[in-house]
């Protein structure tokens, strides 16, 4: 055994020793409840040790001879190719013959079977008809927070915002409603608002509510920028104007946020005074109005 081979063996042995140490360290870390970091480093060492030993093996202990493979042509000789094709075609001719009408009927049968097999796919979900873009908001429903507590007008300062839902439709059993019903209730200076005439009394005392579901890709429009009075979606940065009926200021959204008309009772309870002004959530084929 020559010197370099001996050195190679020593290197490989060191690597393998490191690997065994890593495995033992991992077992110890597991049994003693060591940290994830310790477990990871130990197990990684166990792997790297084996990798190092194998690299040493191939570099220092194995011959470096090269082999040459012939790259034979993949395609068969012309005669064989022609023969294979003609066998396929003659077999097909035997099946079909003059019975083309029967073959057509056979393909139709397969097609019908395929169509029949599609029917169970219908069980995968309910019909979306009349469901897309709707919310539970109706005139008279009171606004509550996520925990079901009533939203009270006097507790909301100008420049503050709260996420609200229709009363009775919150909690774990109503997750699907809450996803589409969520609104951002913002309080702004009433004289700063410039809503269209038709919406003049939708924001009493500067309380104004918009759907929290972005009209772009459905993320929550959760960021309220108090200075420019904008609502912004953190997913794709669609930005909507609070003062101007929820119109798009920036970003990939193509449609304004739907607005919810509000009224405030004498005792400060906030209610919806109508339904959402438009289609809630991202655009679909069914979306009709802008």
């Amino acid at each position: 055994m020559n010197r370099s081979e001996k050195r190679g063996e020593l290197h490989a042995a060191l690597w393998l020793g490191l690997s065994i140490a890593g495995s033992i360290a991992f077992a110890a870390a597991y049994v003693l409840g060591g940290s994830t970091q310790a477990q990871g480093v130990a197990l990684a060492l166990a792997c790297f040790g084996i990798a190092g030993a194998l690299v040493t093996w191939s570099r220092e202990l194995l011959p470096h001879g090269q082999v040459v493979d012939e790259q034979h042509p993949l395609r068969a000789p012309e005669a064989e190719r022609a023969d294979a094709v003609s066998r396929l075609l003659s077999g097909e001719a035997e099946i079909v013959g003059r019975r083309t009408w029967l073959v057509r009927l056979g393909w139709s049968a397969v097609g019908f079977l395929g169509l029949a097999a599609l029917f169970p796919a219908r069980s995968l979900g309910p019909s979306p008809q009349g469901q897309i873009g709707t919310s539970s908001w109706k005139s008279g429903l009171r606004l509550v927070r996520e925990d079901g507590s009533l939203v009270r007008a006097e507790l909301l300062e100008v420049g503050s915002v709260v996420t609200a839902f229709p009363e009775g439709l919150v909690g774990p059993d109503h997750a699907m409603n809450m996803a589409n019903d969520a609104i951002m209730l913002v309080r702004v200076q009433q004289d700063a608002l410039h809503l269209p005439d038709a919406r003049r009394d939708w924001a009493p005392r500067g309380f104004i509510a918009y759907s929290k579901v972005c009209t772009h890709a459905g993320c929550p429009v959760a960021l309220y920028r108090q200075g420019p009075q904008q609502l912004m979606c953190p997913c794709h940065q669609s930005t909507f104007d609070v003062l101007d009926g929820g119109s798009v200021v920036f970003g990939p959204a193509a449609r304004s946020l739907p607005q919810l008309p509000l009224q405030i009772d004498a005792d400060g309870t906030v209610r919806a005074s109508g339904t959402m002004s438009g289609f809630v959530g991202p655009d679909a084929w069914e979306t009709s109005s802008g």
Binding site: A38, Q39, A44, L74, G125, T163, F250
Partner: protein, 459 residues
Amino acid sequence: MIRRLVLALDDRLGAVPFLRHALRKAFPDHWSFMLGEVALYCFLFILASGTYLTFFFHPSAHHVVYDGTSVPSLHGRTMSDAYASVLRISFETRAGLLIRQAHHWCALVFAAAIIVHMSRVFFTGAFRKPRDLNWTVGLTLLLLVMGDGFTGYSLPDDQLSGAGLRIADSIALAIPVVGSWVAYLFFGGGFPSPEITNRLYAIHILFIPLALGALIALHLAILWRQKHTQFPGRGKREDNVTGSPLWPTYTVKSLALMAATFGGLLLLGGLVEINPVWLYGPYDPWTIASPAQPDWYVGWLDGALRVAPPWAMHLFGHTISALLWPGIVLPLFFFGALYAWPWVERFVTRDRAYHELLQLPWQNPLRTSFGVAALTFAGMLLLAGSDDIQARLWHVSVQQLAWFYRVGVLVFPPVAAAIAWRICVELQSRHAYEEDHPARVVLKRGGEGGFEEEPVPTP
């Protein structure tokens, strides 16, 4: 032992001719040929780590109240069983967090290894006939890995996974005519349907891994049959392959790479926190974290959604969503172009021959420019997908950044392609010059006493 096994197998299967051929099969030694192997070993690792995780994960939207003590901020909170089981894996299962994090890291490295491997195959022309077939198999593998990554990312039912699914649901809704049916049938109803976690789970651990396994087997079988390509060089011809023999040299090397890949993934999983779902909290559809980022291989699509113009169209009382363009049309075109490229190149160059020798990128300016443009395009979209983080880092407004990327996505790819073309052409002419003017000469004294230059043939 080995002797008896080989003889027994040969008795029953006639395995010896194959074995004799297989053991001395040539595997080229160039490092870039190892990239695909990293992806292969990622598949093994992700299968093993994922199998372990299935023993603990509950794919259920059923509500539970968290009574664990590991995350005080979530104590007493109602959450899905899926999310609670991920918390248990992370905090109450020994080595659970290590394996969960290594599994997630593996998904990221897997996708990266495939993309780098495909870049190697692309820029050296390894996809040319007869390997155009395996190019399409490999591209399909990339799509499957992206799909498995996204479904896995969506399973823990945390804040970010829920937001990702919400966006996926919106993209499904954007399909003209049948979009809402597609969304309702896939999700099992409106968003967020309690059915979805279970369905994603079946896709994530059964259908896609099965398809991956089958296609990887096909990928390797085709590779085995067609043999490797090789870079041109001394003794390397169109009708041979030079390299280390599979046994023992290449086997030892490749096993070393496998152990190193596993070690790297475990090191990442142990040391680098990834997807800390306990910080995001369980998914409530009306809340969201900011900044919100997907995994990197989805980032370019998220970037496309961010910079796309709001082009919704209204036709006869119906709407074509603005999401259709970045969410559906763009990825279809992008991957369609990648699938078609071997045939596009064949059509353009009228080169229908077999190719066993690789090209260097400068030898084919058209291909290299196209590849550079595609990578620049996807890279710009990927950057655009994190514009909110960049806005914080660089103290610019996210609107300015969005405009930068809107313009950049269109301008930079052709510019990069033009630069790549120029560099290729320069390199071509330099190589042509060097071939005409060999640098190494010997001076020879002739019989009359004069000197003459004589070129030394370059190897």
